[in-house]
Amino acid sequence: MTPEHWILIAVLSASTIGLRLVGYLAGSAMMARPFWRRVLDVFPGCLVTALVASALANGGPAHVIAALVALAAAIVTRNIIVTMLLGMGAFVLAGMVL
């Protein structure tokens, strides 16, 4: 592991513990305010969508095909493991065919 690996663990840990503490100390007050409640409700879904979008924008046609398969699997099964396995399988197959 490089120093960057350790720094990433430290920074991610500090931010996550920090957010849990904010939730403990000020969460109720923040959730009582419609603006913050809305931001905290909506942001995670938008960020996950953005993560998928960036992977597809940086990837090729095999990524798009595998994403469609994974999306169908997620909608039907609602199971993260099945979605991951089917998405990865589709990615390998699409890579072979294309």
Binding site: M1, S15, R20, C46, L47, L51, A57, M84, M88, F91
Partner: protein, 223 residues
């Protein structure tokens, strides 16, 4: 506490499978078993660990990786806020463990159990937290060891595993039709920014914030 531990078992098994996959991917990104174990305890937030390691693997920048992981954890403010009364029942030593162990999986389970049985409280939450911490730590470290033992994981499509995990998370987070416009905006904005050459970390945050802004525009009565 034992009741909480037993109640979380089925969910903990699911978490373990997911943790195993994360361990493989983290070792792919160059994390040692010690590093994976330390991250598991010190961060203990699966989705953000995945997002951060994914960004680290693809962009190599600590800041972008940490930003993506931390941003995903904003939801913990709401999660922890909802269990504060239960946390207050615990002494400080175990209260901190339960606070660090509060995740999507166990806060919902605990609050649902409390609705049926008012005697469910802080100790139940602590039991669920301990169950998940044990499952997450063991599975991620075993996954990391497996990742080191099996070379050339690319041929199993590991490069797409994270994206598939995010798609499954999106499905779990989907709140209904009201999310169509904000999520669509976040998706389109992120793709556009990446294609314009904006670094991925910046594209992610700006893209997600555009989605939030769109939500304020199209769903005015939601607040």
């Amino acid at each position: 506490m034992r009741r909480g531990l037993l109640a979380i078992l089925p969910l903990a098994l699911g978490v373990a499978l997911y943790g195993f996959a994360f361990g493989i991917l983290a070792s792919e990104a160059g994390f040692s078993s010690e590093g994976i174990a330390l991250m598991g305890v010190a961060v203990f937030a699966g989705a953000s660990q995945i997002a951060a390691v994914d960004q680290f693997l693809n962009t190599g920048t600590v800041l972008g990786a940490a930003l993506a992981g931390a941003a995903l954890n904003l939801r913990y403010i709401g999660i922890v806020a909802s269990v504060v009364p239960l946390l207050r029942e615990l002494p400080w030593s175990t209260r901190l463990i339960a606070l660090q162990g509060a995740t999507d999986e166990n806060f919902a389970l605990t609050l649902a159990a409390r609705k049926d049985d008012p005697s469910v409280g802080g100790r139940f939450l602590l039991g669920t937290a301990l169950g998940l911490i044990i499952a997450w730590l063991t599975s991620t470290v075993i996954g990391g060891l497996a990742g080191q033992a099996i070379p050339d994981l690319e041929r199993f499509g590991i490069g797409f595993a994270f994206t598939a995990a995010f798609i499954a998370m999106a499905r779990a987070l989907w709140p209904g039709k009201a999310a169509m416009a904000p999520w669509g905006t976040a998706f389109a904005a992120t793709v556009g920014l990446v294609w314009l050459g904006v670094p991925t970390a910046g594209a992610l945050v700006i893209g997600a914030l555009s989605g939030v802004a769109m939500d304020f525009l199209v769903n005015p009565d939601d607040a």
